[in-house]
C-alpha cells in the first residue's frame, strides 16, 4: 500500500481535546456540537429541568448521569424537541433548534433512542431498519405507487441495513417480527436503527437498562465503535462502571440542574455528586459503582 503518500491520521484519541477544560458545571468546550442555554421545564410546581448552560463536545462520548428523577429523560426530550421547554435555547451544529419539529431535528443529524424501547413490534427487524433511512424517495405518497422510482434506492438501503445488522450480530433475525426479540435485542435494534439515519450525534437514553451482561459488553463496544467512526455520543446511564469504561466526559444532573462535569475519574470524588447521590451529610469516599438502581 502507499503508506508514504498519506500522512498519519491524527485520531481524536491521540490527545484529549478536553485536556484544558475546567472540571466545572456549564464549562465551555473547544468544539461543541450541541449547546443548551437556560433551558427550563416545569411540570406543575416541579421544576424537572433547570439547566443554565451545557455544551457537548464533538466526536467524544459524553455520559449524562444522575439519580432517578434528576430530569435526564426530560432534558433529552427538550433537546430533541419531543417536549417544549418553558424557556431556553438549543443549538445543534450552530443551528438553532428552537421551534424545530422533532422529526426535523432527526433530519439535521441528531437522533435519539428512548428509555422505554420503541422497537416496532409488528414490523420485521429489516423493516425497522429500513424505516430509519432518511431521504427516501419512496416515502413520498406520489412516488410510492411507482416502484421504479425508488426500488433501486430501496435496495441500497436494504444492503446498508444488512451490513449494520451483521455488525450488531442480528443478521439471523432479519425477517422476524421485532416483537419477538428479547429486551436486550430490542435495545440493539433501536440503536442500529438510529444509525440508519446516519447521524452526527447519537443520544441514547439508558441503552444498557435491562440488558443481560453478555449483551452489555457488546453494546459498549458498539458505542465505542460509533466514536471511532467520528460520531458524537451522548448517553444516559446509571452504571458507573460502564460510564468509567467508555466515556470521555461526564455530566452530572440532580434535581433538574447540572451540578458537575469532568472526566470520569474526577466524578466519584466530586463533593457535589456525592451529596446528590447520598444526601449532604455523607463524608466517606463514594463508590458509585454500587449505586445501580
Amino acid at each position: 500500500m502507499t503508506d508514504n503518500d498519506t500522512p498519519p491520521i491524527a485520531t481524536q484519541t491521540d490527545h484529549n481535546p478536553l485536556e484544558n477544560v475546567a472540571w466545572e458545571a456549564g464549562v465551555s468546550k473547544p468544539d461543541p456540537i450541541l449547546v443548551a442555554h437556560d433551558v427550563t421545564r416545569s411540570f406543575g410546581g416541579l421544576k424537572a429541568v433547570d439547566v443554565d448552560h451545557v455544551e457537548i463536545q464533538r466526536g467524544l462520548i459524553t455520559a449524562l448521569i444522575g439519580p432517578n428523577g434528576a430530569g435526564k429523560t426530560t432534558f433529552f426530550n427538550l433537546l430533541t424537541n419531543f417536549d417544549n421547554p418553558d424557556t431556553g435555547d438549543r443549538t445543534f451544529n450552530g443551528r438553532s433548534l428552537n421551534n424545530t419539529p422533532a422529526h426535523r431535528v432527526a433530519n439535521f443529524g441528531m437522533v435519539r433512542t428512548f428509555q422505554l424501547t420503541k422497537a416496532l413490534s409488528k414490523m420485521t427487524v429489516m423493516e425497522n431498519m429500513k424505516l430509519g433511512a432518511t431521504g427516501q424517495r419512496g416515502e413520498s405518497m406520489l412516488a410510492a405507487a411507482l416502484p421504479f422510482l425508488w426500488s433501486r434506492q430501496d435496495r441500497a438501503i436494504e444492503e446498508r441495513a444488512a451490513g449494520l445488522l451483521q455488525r450488531f450480530k442480528m443478521d439471523h433475525m432479519t425477517g422476524e417480527f421485532a416483537g419477538t426479540l428479547s429486551g436486550g435485542q430490542r435495545k440493539l435494534l433501536e440503536m442500529a436503527r438510529a444509525l440508519m439515519v446516519q447521524p452526527e450525534l447519537v443520544m441514547l437514553d439508558e441503552p444498557m437498562a435491562g440488558v443481560n451482561p453478555a449483551l452489555k459488553q457488546s453494546l459498549l463496544d458498539h458505542i465505542k465503535g460509533l466514536k471511532a467512526e467520528g460520531m458524537t455520543v451522548l448517553f444516559v446511564e446509571h452504571d458507573m462502571d460502564m460510564v468509567q469504561e467508555i466515556s470521555d466526559w461526564v455530566i452530572v444532573m440532580a434535581e433538574g440542574r447540572i451540578i458537575a462535569e469532568g472526566p470520569p475519574a474526577s466524578i466519584s470524588e466530586n463533593k457535589a455528586v456525592v451529596d446528590a447521590y447520598l444526601g449532604s451529610h455523607h463524608d466517606a469516599p463514594l463508590d458509585l459503582g454500587d449505586l445501580d438502581d
Binding site: 422529526h103 432527526a106 423493516e127 424505516l131 416515502e139 413520498s140 410510492a144 405507487a145 425508488w150 417480527f177
Partner: protein
C-alpha cells in the same frame, strides 16, 4: 322453500352493488384504521361527500347555472365526478384532520362521528333546499353515466341477476374496486406504507427517525377519505340519488364490519369483508322470509316484518363468534396480532 331465490339473493349480495360501495368505503377505512391507526367513526360523511360532490355539481339549483355557464352543458357530469371524488373529500379531510391529528387518536374519533351527523342534518335543512334538495335529496345527475352503458336497461344479464343499468354499475364498480385495491397494494408495500405502519405502532419512534408523522397521518386521512368518497359517488350513481338518510351512522358501521371481518391491515381483506357482510345479510333476509312464509319459523317468534331487524341480530352474533374464534379477521395474521400482548 324456494332455494333458488335464496341462492340468487345471496349471490347478488356477495357481488352486487352494496358489496361494491362498501368495499370501497372499507378500503378507505382500512387505510385510516388498519394501516395508520386513525380512528375514523364517520366514514359515512366521506361517502356523502362523494355523493353530494357529484349531485350538487350536476343537479342542484344553486351552483348549477353557474357551472353550466362556465364549462358548458355536457361537461357537468365529469366536473361532478372530480368534485365528488377529489375536491369534497380532500376539503373534508383537511377540516377533520387539521385540528385533531396532532392530538391523541380519540379526538379524531369524536370529530368524525360528530361531523358525519352534522353534515347529514345540515343537508336535510329546508333552508338549503336549492343546494342539497334537503330531505328529498338530489336526483337526475347520473344520466351521462347510463348514456355510456352498452346494456339494454330492460334486459337481464349475468345469470339474470342484474338489469341492464345494474349490470353497468356492476362492471364499472368492480373495475373501480380492482384499480383502487391495486393502487393501495402498491402504496402499502412502498416505503410510504412502511412509515404508516410505523406511525400506527408508535408515532414517536417514527418522529425520532425523521418522519413527519402529522403530514403522513393527513395524507392517510385524505387518501382513505377519497377512496370512501369514490364508494359514495358510485352509490349515488347506482341509486341515481343522493339523500341525507343514505348516510346515517349505520353506514359507517357497515364499513367497520367489513374491515374487521376481512382483517384490518390487509389490503384485500375489506373487499372480502364487504362481500361476506352483504351476502350474509341477503341470505339471512331471504332465508328467514322464506321460512316465515313456509310456516317453518313460527309467528310468535318472528313475523315477516321483523325479518329486516333479525338479520342484523344474526350478523351481530356472527361477529361475536368471529371476535371469539378469529379476532384477527379472515385474512389477519394471528402471530402478528399476538404481538400486541407483549
Amino acid at each position: 322453500m324456494d332455494w333458488g331465490s335464496i341462492i340468487e339473493n345471496t349471490v347478488r349480495g356477495l357481488i352486487g352493488e352494496q358489496a361494491i360501495y362498501f368495499a370501497l368505503a372499507a378500503l378507505g377505512l382500512n387505510i385510516h384504521f388498519g394501516f395508520t391507526g386513525l380512528l375514523n367513526f364517520g366514514q359515512a360523511v366521506f361517502m356523502a361527500a362523494g355523493a353530494y360532490g357529484l349531485a350538487m355539481t350536476v343537479a342542484s339549483e344553486e351552483p348549477h347555472d353557474l357551472i353550466l355557464f362556465t364549462i358548458g352543458d355536457g361537461n357537468g357530469f365529469w366536473l361532478g365526478i372530480f368534485m365528488g371524488v377529489i375536491v369534497f373529500p380532500v376539503i373534508l379531510a383537511l377540516i377533520l384532520g387539521i385540528p385533531t391529528l396532532r392530538l391523541r387518536a380519540d379526538y379524531l374519533a369524536m370529530v368524525t362521528i360528530a361531523t358525519a351527523e352534522i353534515f347529514r342534518l345540515v343537508a336535510r335543512t329546508p333552508a338549503l333546499d336549492d343546494w342539497t334538495g334537503s330531505s328529498d335529496g338530489l336526483t337526475g345527475f347520473a344520466s351521462t353515466f347510463y348514456d355510456w352503458s352498452p346494456f339494454e336497461p330492460r334486459q337481464r344479464y349475468f345469470f339474470n341477476l342484474f338489469q341492464g343499468n345494474q349490470m353497468w354499475v356492476f362492471i364499472i364498480g368492480w373495475i373501480t374496486v380492482a384499480i383502487v385495491a391495486f393502487i393501495l397494494w402498491l402504496l402499502i408495500r412502498s416505503p410510504w406504507g412502511r412509515v404508516l405502519k410505523a406511525i400506527r405502532e408508535d408515532e414517536d419512534a417514527a418522529r425520532s427517525l425523521g418522519k413527519n408523522a402529522y403530514a403522513y397521518k393527513m395524507q392517510a386521512l385524505i387518501l382513505g377519505g377519497v377512496v370512501g368518497a369514490i364508494g359514495g359517488t358510485l352509490r349515488a350513481i347506482g341509486t341515481q340519488s343522493a339523500q341525507p338518510d343514505n348516510f346515517i351512522t349505520d353506514v359507517t358501521f357497515f364499513a367497520w364490519v367489513a374491515v374487521i371481518l376481512g382483517g384490518a391491515g390487509k389490503v384485500f381483506g375489506p373487499i372480502i369483508g364487504s362481500m361476506l357482510l352483504w351476502a350474509t345479510l341477503a341470505f339471512a333476509d331471504t332465508f328467514l322470509r322464506e321460512g316465515v312464509d313456509a310456516g317453518w319459523v313460527p309467528d310468535w317468534l318472528i313475523t315477516g316484518t321483523q325479518v329486516g331487524q333479525v338479520r342484523f341480530m344474526l350478523v351481530g352474533l356472527g361477529l361475536v363468534f368471529l371476535a371469539w374464534r378469529r379476532p384477527q379477521g379472515i385474512f389477519g395474521n394471528k402471530e402478528e396480532m399476538a404481538l400486541d400482548d407483549r
